[in-house]
Assembly symmetry: C2
Homo-oligomer: 481 residues x 2
């Protein structure tokens, strides 16, 4: 049974079978009419008596609906002139939601992402169920700004065991991914007077932009096959350095023991903080992972990690392990920013860690990525025998050094025209124009069975662009980087 | 079968039955010994041959373990002097984890928190299961910085329906709770030249501190029983104002229709942004909720909301609905800060909204809180008949105005000594010393059956502190605030 009225050219629909109180329906219809401009400012509304009659409603219902909209400011009542639409209402139209979705390329060599098809949905779900069934009610309160205590303890135990850190729950701060961790830390360092934070060049361009947007200067330190040049670093006046020691991003270099020692010595001498971004250290294929720098100087190194490269970046599970003197300020910065990370997710992660789900997932995915890495290395060695490949020993990507005569941008574009997405290394350099041409080739998202054909097609693309062929070295799978 | 060695006063345990490769065990034991200081800098390690013999391991295993620790910088090898613990290693001891937990008070009148016992664990869990079973793999990728598109659409539809907003998915930004939303917004306004953001006085003290820590000035605007004084606001030179229109925090006042209109007019004239913190508008007991200001001026109002007061603050699910011109800058600020909020949680929330779980939870909890509110009002009317109670019509707390002769701090302390936690209103004022004595009394976390006794005991406490008795008004449950 529906009632309508058209007294003011306005269609009001009341549906008595809708299960929504008629007064609410009336209010919503009137409000929507004002918002959309169907009822312009100044329009006189029917008297409550007439309107009620039109709609076959009791007059009280119309009176209450008018009162509600008067209280909200949509209507205005003046003695003598009845109820009218309040002035200065304008038409609020929403543009249609447009979320353009480009068709995915046939082959996407995107780096920095694990294979999302491998996410352990079942065991993660089991942890969610256990947490929802067993977590005490106060776990649903505002969390400690650093994160839930037991989750911090589980994470610290994992990191001490698997990454050779020296971590305790009281030094851990959960963050929205490693990016927020680095941001909070740099904000605290800035507030302590640090003006410059050195970064690797090439390095993680997005992080660098973030740090600069905090008003800090980010001098770039060259990276070679032994990792960050500590000698170049020591000539600079910086308060901290952001370093990917275990597996440099994007070159894949491992910081040598000599440089690790030199870096720690420099930091101690300079009173500087080392920000260690341990972004994909769990994936090392030919021997055990290199332990974190943090374990050698926990009072000097701020360790940054996340579940993004092992599980999924959509979880936004990141963490800091901090020198004790930085814990209060960073916790306070986190509290100011957002009062802490989602607590249930931390509890689920802790359950997943405690029950061995994380270790099992790591073992399984490490084997899978090792196979893909081998397939990739073999395909590169077959189709691109003269291209130097860096960073084969670890992580989810390699770097292909192109001949200096090759136009990197043109290669990327030519590949795109064949529905192959590759990523130029130029974007990772402080001075892109001066960067040697190279490609960052991720294999986390490619199916193993697709890799040979993807590489063959990429080789076709490169064949059309390489004028001179570099003959310096060929691809080998070895424990070197 | 276990092997140990004590050659350097160092106990190394190797457990062949542990399921962990012996080389890894050896590395970990040695690393831990260096980290803990059991093996001080300069200590000579046994030769690989002797050590292997001691531990009944193959020499190759010891060689590999030494190589790993050499690569990590824990050890140092010099021709002629063998392998030694690297210098400048100091003892890294972690202080014991201390998480002091005060015993909870018998009665806690904490405001700003829903009853965590009512969290819909079962239906939330069902949504998690559905999402894990059905979400496409690319939902596990980095999210759009604003949040997952379909979750933004579900939220916009809910807000339009329940809060009378004019929202579309493209104007929504998910944040870590409303605090992060306000922070990001204020940061963007600051970067656009805004220097002062007006806040309500009394108002949300934490938000105010956050805004000031961004380097902004926060002039306080007085609040009376009609809400924020727009007249006082219009005398100030501010670029934005933070307002709790539907239910002022902490006084519980509802901004009158006249002031809503005046506020919108002021903002339009001034070119200012209204930041509407719609923090607990869903809980209104005696009639329908007041629609959001945003619906009347979506290009002028930045709407802030969260699931903290309806579901749980531990979810950290907050959101902004922005004027179109602010969307790009705020999205970019969010991307810089943390690359977006956890995606799975947004999908779970969207499922929960779409399937009516949120509406059902609201109906159920609104009924429950209405009963508690009635019980509280009755108990106050019985035990504290002469105390004026504000904000009875909505939300999860009321404000008790004490006689001006009463020492608020002393009352709070006296209550605490009887294991009753009450919250002085002073902390919400810009000038606490000049604030009239009052208590903010939350009933979200109190069991309905406990309320009468809790109020009786609170009345006892107050009886010992009230010198003169204020007789201005008595408690009534009505649709007025």
């Amino acid at each position: 049974m529906k009632g309508t009225t058209s007294r003011t050219e306005l269609l009001i629909r009341i549906d008595r079978a809708a299960g929504v109180p008629v007064r609410q329906q009336l209010e919503r219809e009137l409000r929507a009419a004002v918002q959309s401009g169907r009822l312009p400012a100044g329009t006189a509304l029917p008297s409550t008596r007439a309107f009620a009659q039109d709609l076959a409603l009791s007059r009280g219902v119309v009176v209450e609906a008018y009162e509600q909209l008067l209280a909200e400011g949509y209507l205005r009542a003046r003695r003598g002139s009845g109820t009218r639409v309040a002035p200065h209402r304008r038409i609020n139209t929403l543009p249609p939601v447009e979320e353009p979705q480009a068709a995915p390329p046939r082959y996407d060599f995107r780096p920095g992402l694990p294979d999302l098809r491998l996410f352990p949905r079942r065991s993660w779900g089991a942890s969610v169920r256990r947490v929802l069934a067993t977590a005490p009610d106060d776990a649903l309160d505002y969390p400690d700004a650093r994160g839930v205590a037991c989750a911090r303890a589980s994470l610290a135990a994992y990191l001490n065991r698997a990454r050779a850190t020296v971590a305790g729950a009281d030094r851990v701060v959960f963050c929205n991914g490693s990016s927020q961790g680095i941001n909070l830390l740099c904000r605290v360092l800035r507030d302590r007077g640090v003006r410059r934070i050195a970064v690797e060049d090439p390095g993680h361009a997005d992080q660098c932009t973030d740090i600069r947007s905090l008003g800090l200067d980010t001098p770039g330190i060259p990276v070679d096959s032994n990792g960050l040049s500590v000698e170049r670093l020591s000539r600079l006046d910086v308060g901290a350095v952001l370093v990917t020691a275990a597996h440099q991003y994007p070159t894949g270099a491992v910081l040598t023991a000599k440089r690790r020692t030199a870096l720690l010595e420099w930091a101690a001498r300079r009173g500087a903080i080392l920000i260690e971004d341990d972004y994909d250290a769990e994936y090392r294929y030919d021997r055990e992972a290199i332990g974190a720098l943090q374990g050698m100087a926990p009072d000097r190194v701020a360790y940054v990690g996340s579940a993004s490269k092992v599980l999924s970046p959509a979880l936004r599970l990141g963490w800091l392990v901090l020198p004790p003197e930085l814990v209060p300020a960073v916790s306070e910065a986190k509290r100011h920013e957002d009062r802490g990370c989602p607590a249930l997710e931390q509890l689920v992660f802790a359950d997943f860690l405690e029950r061995g789900g994380f270790d099992r997932h790591l073992r399984r995915t490490r084997e899978e990525y090792r196979r893909r890495r081998n397939t990739l290395a073999n395909a590169l060695s077959r189709h691109l025998p003269h291209v130097k490949v860096r960073g084969v020993a670890a992580g989810l990507h390699v770097m292909l050094e192109l001949d200096t005569s090759v136009d990197e941008t043109a290669v990327v574009a030519a590949a795109a025209s064949r529905s192959i997405r590759v990523y130029g290394a130029r974007a990772y350099y402080a001075k892109p124009a001066a960067a040697p041409p190279a490609l960052v080739v991720g294999y986390g998202g490619l199916r193993g069975t697709d890799i040979p054909e993807a590489v063959r097609q990429l080789a076709d693309v490169l064949a059309g662009h390489a004028k001179r062929v570099k003959r310096t070295s060929s691809v080998k799978v070895s424990s070197a980087t």
